[in-house]
Amino acid sequence: MTTEISVYERLGGSLALRSVTEVFYRKVLADDLLAPYFDDVDMDRQIAKQASFLTMALGGPNEYTGDDLRSAHAGMADLDDKHFDGVLGHLADTLREFGVSEADVSAVGAVAGSARDDVLNR
């Protein structure tokens, strides 16, 4: 249990999360390396999942489990570290756009990075 204020709260909680998620998702979709994986996905479902993942990574209230992430990426055998690093890069850029400090950007990146094995099915 920590009494520190999370990045999630400093950004403005659930209200800000929607914009953060949309900016992040837009960067991912604009990336030619990543975009093809999102061609046939339902945008609403996808953005809800990303919001849930970001809430976890930003230290907000969540019931996030890696199982969902693992099963969601299970059919994508060609995903590798460059895809995962690409997504982490877009997340960091998004946070910077919202004025998050470099220390917090690295802290959030570390939490998000812990999902690597689930995403890459290792």
Partner: protein
Amino acid sequence: MQLTFEGRDYELRPGESVLDAMARHGVGLPSACRVGSCQACMIRSVSGDPGPDARRGLKATWLAAGYFLACLARPSSDLTVAEPGDDAHTPARLISARPIGPGVLRVLVRPDHRLDYQPGQHVTLSRAGGITRIYSIVSLPAESARTGIELHVRVYPAGAMSGWLARARPATPLILGSPAGECFYVPGNSAGPLLLAGTGTGIAPLLAVARAALAHHHRGPVVLIHGAARPDGLYLGRQCPPALTAEAGLSWRTCLLSDGEDIAAAVTAQLAALTCPPGSVRAYLCGGARSVRRMRRALFMAGMSLADIYADQFVPAGS
């Protein structure tokens, strides 16, 4: 698990929807989209829990009455269900069904009692023989009360509904379901531009949205874009329909795939031409699933929030 309906018990398999389970036992409920948007399969729970997803998008008054959607209901315990009451089904009669353009009928239907809906919503139409389809309502509520509910129906020659409607006599009995859909005009932010794009008969609900906006004295520009694969798909013609031409602030555009034009590029070009912050624009997109998905993604990438994009994807009949 067990499903009880009209005094009989039916086996319900884990993970199976109530709609599928009943169909497997030979009990056909009205259904059309099977993904929770048309609400044709709405039934009522007498006892038991239909599961968390089964009540998605239903009005509070229906929730209170125990209604849920059979296609989305995957119960984890026994359930007793009943047919919906009369408030979910409105008997109606056909007034007329005449061609409005190539391959499209303008169908007028008179409900036995007033049907409440928002301009841009869709409704299920059922005929004898258990055939149910979803159509968008073109007329505004006041017009529906006066001259009947107007639907634009794409005619498929062997279509179980559209082909039949083309031949049906006036006064033929029909059933209207409960109007549904999120793609309707909400008053407020009347200075913000409205970007309305539809492919095929997807333009029909947008005519209602545009006219509802103008009836609410919407001050911002209203841009309508009608897309089709080929020239005959522009069933309202190249020019703005007469009912809309007199309105200031309204513009009408067409977009033809056969001319090399792309509907997703056309909507983003119109968004850019509005030269205002993407956050002040509301977009309404209707038509085939692929076109709607592409337009939505293009507008999102151009800076619009998904919360400001109202989309309605048409589901192919009989799927």
